[in-house]
Subunit: 374 residues, 2 copies
């Protein structure tokens, strides 16, 4: 392999694929990045066996000169540092004596030990005929509005993932850690020819949203039995799926309510934020909300530290008043997922789930379970 | 105590003094901030027994209304969070029933448990008649150029401090961890009436440079036997001194050289930075520098990873060539302390200290010891 390539392009590709390199990985070869050079361009691949990222840099006469085609595995940590720190516009990479890698620019010369491509695992990144297309910005929004509600508890793996359900042109994403729940429904431009119901690991999908770019308009979602492949411009991102059946969350969301209140989103967020200053993380930052006519009062207290009382104006749909306690942390995370000015909270009772929606957009549903304080 | 005070002013004061609150402190009362309100204004004090920070907010008719004078200790963590998060322009603080603190604004009310001021340690923040004055910007520069060379090893406490020597109108600051050394000499506007030679804990002085403001022109240094007090506008910062005798560092700096080279500061930094990519932290990032006529070559190698060679042009004062190895980390930290375009490195021999100076400013001296590699 022998190539002269524009530094910025190579660095961009290395930065993307290196997100798949785990520093904790026990398989040494997976700390490497695979370089595959053909007359069409350079393909970079990295994997930690859980996710695989591949990016392709197509050749054009200004960005690279391909002298000898070939493949090699280079230690990810070093190649990234070298390319980042070289000041030159172009960088030369050459494999000599099969496994010796020479990286050079005007005043710099690096000799690295490479690894034979035969030792790299054979990772299949195949397309599905029936892929689904979604706009990049919309995809990012859906993930940000749901993934925070996944669980970190590996003893119930299903809850560490985001449930993707596709039927026709409707995509429904949901996540729950059994204390709160987030659900977002969107309409796709095209209908899917198959229906899907899969669970994608939350951590992996966060990693994917970090390397996608709004300048590339679309994402293709190729779903298989045990894995999903995202195509985004010249980048492929593949992750395993979580086996199992996701809870039927629509059954958990109450249809009726005894009281609905409308409140300013930022006002409500700040009131709960301040009310939770004196609470402790150990108690999940419990605060108590109560209504008194058109006044909302949020309180918390701790025998050792003291107590706090915050007030704000709201609009109610009924005469009814409510008093209910919940985790300020969970409620604030739910509120953060909205973008409008006003939210609506629906109450069914003191020990029944609280539903939060935007007053103008019914496609996002947040649910927070109350906490018994007596 | 009862006061109505402008939020921004109170927050600024709390932010400053809270730097003295250690989360690890074992004495509960030292997690509190002392409020002392008189008809002159509000004094805030915090201490961790190692450093003490006090700031005074003088009354004027637009910034506070003093209703009842008095003192109270408030938990630092909570008062800071409350004041930061309240949206109001003015905040009311009132002590009721001796130890109950009421903090309120338009829609918020906090009740905190306070601590009696009698339980707070009696910290004396006295002035010295013979204090020394220094410009804020100059003080910050001196500390940044020396403190990084202090040691973190508490088994030799003297080396964890910065040595301040004052004689006449000359201030000399130095620091060394026995592998490298930094020395800065400056001329003060006024002569000191006494001579001083003290060691100030490096960590504490870094904390002080973080809360000083260039908008306040001067710092007064009041030096005592076992402590030093800095006055900076309305703020007082006191730290203990380290007992003992600092090494006579001027004896360690070679006066002669066998070779001097001049090099671009940023060029040399980058060359060493890249040469150290393949070195490991465990080996203190050893690189080897050698001259060959007007070429400087910096190399490093590791049997497992590979090797690197970097070149740049330099100017030499003699025909002589040198080959010398050192810690890239220490050399880069030394180079970072310079502000000019060109530095001069003086060599005495392969196993003798390397001296680095700015070609135009002889007041800053950096010394890095070489490392034997054979």
């Amino acid at each position: 392999m022998k190539i002269k390539i524009k530094k910025d392009l190579l660095l961009e590709g290395l930065n993307k694929v290196s997100k798949a390199i785990s520093t904790k990985n026990l398989i040494p070869i997976l700390s490497g990045i695979k370089f595959d050079l053909t007359n069409k361009g350079l393909t970079l691949t990295a994997s930690d066996n859980d996710i695989t990222i591949q990016t392709f840099i197509p050749v054009d006469k200004n960005n690279m000169t391909i002298e000898v085609e070939g493949s090699i595995i280079i230690q990810g940590k070093y190649i990234l540092d070298i390319v980042r720190k070289l000041p030159d516009e172009f960088i030369n990479i050459e494999v000599i004596d099969e496994l010796k890698i020479l990286i050079y620019a005007e005043n710099s010369e690096f000799n690295l030990n490479g690894i034979n491509k035969k030792e790299y695992p054979n990772i299949i990144l195949e397309n599905s005929k029936n892929f689904v297309k979604i706009r990049t910005k919309l995809f990012r929004a859906i993930i940000n509005q749901t993934v925070f509600a996944t669980s970190n508890d590996e003893s119930r793996p299903i809850l560490t993932g985001v449930n993707f359900k596709i039927a026709g042109n409707i995509l429904e994403c949901s996540a729950t850690d059994s204390y709160r729940l987030a659900k977002k429904q969107v309409t796709l431009n095209d209908s899917a020819t198959e229906t899907y119901n899969v669970i994608i690991p939350g951590k992996n999908i966060i990693e994917f949203t970090r390397i996608i770019s709004d300048t590339i308009d679309e994402i293709e979602i190729h779903i298989f039995n045990n894995k999903v492949l995202f195509k985004h411009g010249n980048m492929l991102f593949q992750t395993r799926l979580i086996n199992g059946k996701f809870p039927e969350i629509n059954n958990l969301i109450p249809k009726e309510s005894i009281l609905k209140i409308k409140a300013s989103l930022s006002g409500l967020y700040d009131v709960i934020d301040r009310a939770s200053i004196l609470t402790s993380d150990k108690e999940k930052n419990i605060v108590t909300l109560e209504t008194n006519n058109n006044l909302l009062i949020v309180k918390s207290s701790s025998a050792e530290i003291g107590r706090v009382e915050e007030k704000m104006n709201i609009v109610k749909d009924k005469e009814e008043d409510i008093k209910i306690s919940f985790s300020a942390k969970y409620m604030m995370e739910a509120l953060k997922s909205f973008e409008g000015d006003t939210v609506e909270l629906s109450f069914v009772g003191e020990i029944k789930p609280i539903i939060i929606k935007d007053t103008n957009d019914k496609n996002l549903t947040q649910l927070v379970l109350p906490i018994r304080t007596y």
